[in-house]
Chain length 266, copies 3
């Protein structure tokens, strides 16, 4: 049973252990994702040269793969990383950015899932529908579907791939196929900052290093929603929003978290 | 006839339509450019793998190519994107960063112009002089010439390539070779933030999706100048300048725009 | 003899001359490093295509090589840049990010040092111990050793490679093997911002363009510590810290610098 108190205990564990989170992610969000992991209390590393990935997977506590700016060389790196992580039981989070927008993205995401057997897949509704093989009408990397529309896709993907699936949106949905949770709150300014979805995946990666996949996904999405809500209260636009968001992630107290988290079972 | 009211109407169109702007741009500015496009109300996507570019050009409303951190592989991607955009009549903006600083940059910029027949070329004075074949004495990626010195180069390039040319500087010059406009204002802090020139090109790309090239270039440069001027009034240096700039781009009102835009016909 | 007044004079020289600092650095920190160089008053350029590096080294005042997100292609670029810089006596700063975390990183850093004969090597304690061939137990890219533990490694590397070595940490150590200086101060928020170590290397690069290596290293580390200390006084977390840091670097006065710098001879 997931409770706000349990999720907060995972935040404290991340802060205490500072797990090493290895990301191979897109070029647009690298800086924000590294800063968000540091603000949370985790230790980020980003590296993609296949030759050194075995050395680096040997010290990683979690792996996050994000295909946002994929190319043939980086797809190769991600496959090596997925394989090495699997061998070492390093928990894997996959963010299939833009699945559905090109055939290459859909296929790459599915190949990485097959190769790495992820603990968590985090995506928006359109991306999940694309992975589930449905007819999708995407607009680039932004979702044109609601989380509710994606609920069935999320549940069936979770059962098919034996993992936790997050469908992020105005309300986030977290499911392992049998048990489904919603996280509300957040802020309408979140989608006005590039890579906030990718940052959710990175943050979930930090929790996957210290908790089981369903807990990790719920904890990651919960702290993102709470930090965004607190930041939005001080922000004048997306520029100051990003600044306050990192500050909130860093300084968040137990009382702030428990006072703002909106967790409900579906 | 370009008027401040007309330019503002284009801002409202971008906000209403949220055009999908595809960029293949340099590694330094990707995050800022995506955030600026989101703050403006457009929808950014960045992707460079040739295999998926046909899929992505089919949904793009504009393409922005920026050679700031070019290499052989990315030049190949940019050429594919330019060709696919041309086939589909997707308007193209080219930013020839550092043209003149190396032979490769000048040649690549000219090759992309030939391949893609851009709607708009946005550059600083030194870069335009390099494209025009003049003797240039550049210092890296920063201009050592004034916009006034570049006026003749801008006009002749506009006529030669049948496009709109922007020579950005303390005063921006926008010309299609027959009609030339100046945009004043802005802030001396702009060149102290990396990639503000590149951001101009990205923003012009958003307008090129909804307006003809001369209008789009004027609207893009105008909103950059106005947002920078408003941000500078609140900034204590280049760090806070960037934050306030994104906030201003997001929250800019009609009255702010019309009260600050400095548009004159040359 | 290094004095605070001497270090400040180097700041004024950088501001007056705006040296062109060429970086081939990691994908995570490019934007911050370029912004820090601009805030300081230097002129940054980032480019990695081997074909244009001879043209660009001909106009560069300093070169900074950082292996944070190395791959085979970029290692090739860094070697070409190191060789071209050496031929033209362009001072070189090397940041061996993650040396010790993988064999490839340690070997690449040593190869670049051999190729380029750097003026300055800036690293954390773990990285220096790895370069010195000691048994190292690293955790990704963050140091698990103190600057004090690294003192012997720093001195012996400085003598072996005839260069200045910086071991950054809570107190920074700057040594040419015969003369050693400490810089205190700074802020505990610095390691909570990604790439602050890399930014030190970039800033040292700007000073290496105008001063001898020992001076340059001391001046760079000194201004980083002072700007961080001033920024921390205004910051609420790592998000606002980064904003205030750039503002402080830009607006720092002689009185601020002399009033806060903590320079002592070892």
């Amino acid at each position: 049973m997931i409770t706000p108190e349990l999720l907060w205990s995972h935040v404290e564990t991340v802060r205490a252990k500072a797990p090493l989170v290895h990301s191979i992610t897109n070029l647009v969000v690298m800086n924000l994702n590294a800063n968000a992991l540091l603000a949370l209390g985790a230790s980020p590393i980003m590296a993609h040269e296949p030759e050194e990935l075995p050395d680096l997977m040997a010290i990683a506590s979690a792996l996050v793969l994000n295909i946002g700016t994929l190319d043939k060389a980086w797809i190769g790196s991600m496959k090596v990383a997925a394989r090495e992580a699997y061998k070492r039981a390093v928990p894997l989070v996959i963010d299939p950015v833009g699945a559905g927008a090109s055939r290459l993205r859909t296929e790459t995401a599915l190949a990485l899932i097959a190769e790495g057997q992820p603990a968590v897949i985090r995506a928006n509704a359109s991306e999940l529908l694309a992975l589930a093989g449905g007819a999708v009408n995407t607009k680039g990397v932004d979702s044109t579907h609601t989380a509710t529309q994606a609920r069935d896709a999320a549940r069936s993907l979770a059962l098919e791939f034996r993992c936790t699936v997050v469908a992020s949106g105005e309300t986030d949905l977290v499911t392992n196929g049998r048990e489904t949770w919603h996280l509300g709150g957040g802020s309408a300014l979140m989608p006005r900052i590039t890579g906030m979805g990718c940052t959710c995946s990175a943050i979930v990666g930090a929790f996957a290093a210290v908790a089981d996949p369903l807990d990790a996904a719920a904890a990651g999405m919960a702290i993102m929603k709470v930090a965004a809500e607190l930041a939005a209260g001080k922000a004048s636009g997306p520029g100051s929003m990003q600044v306050h968001f990192l500050d909130a992630l860093y300084s968040l107290s137990r009382a702030d978290f428990l006072g703002h988290v909106k967790l409900t079972r579906a």
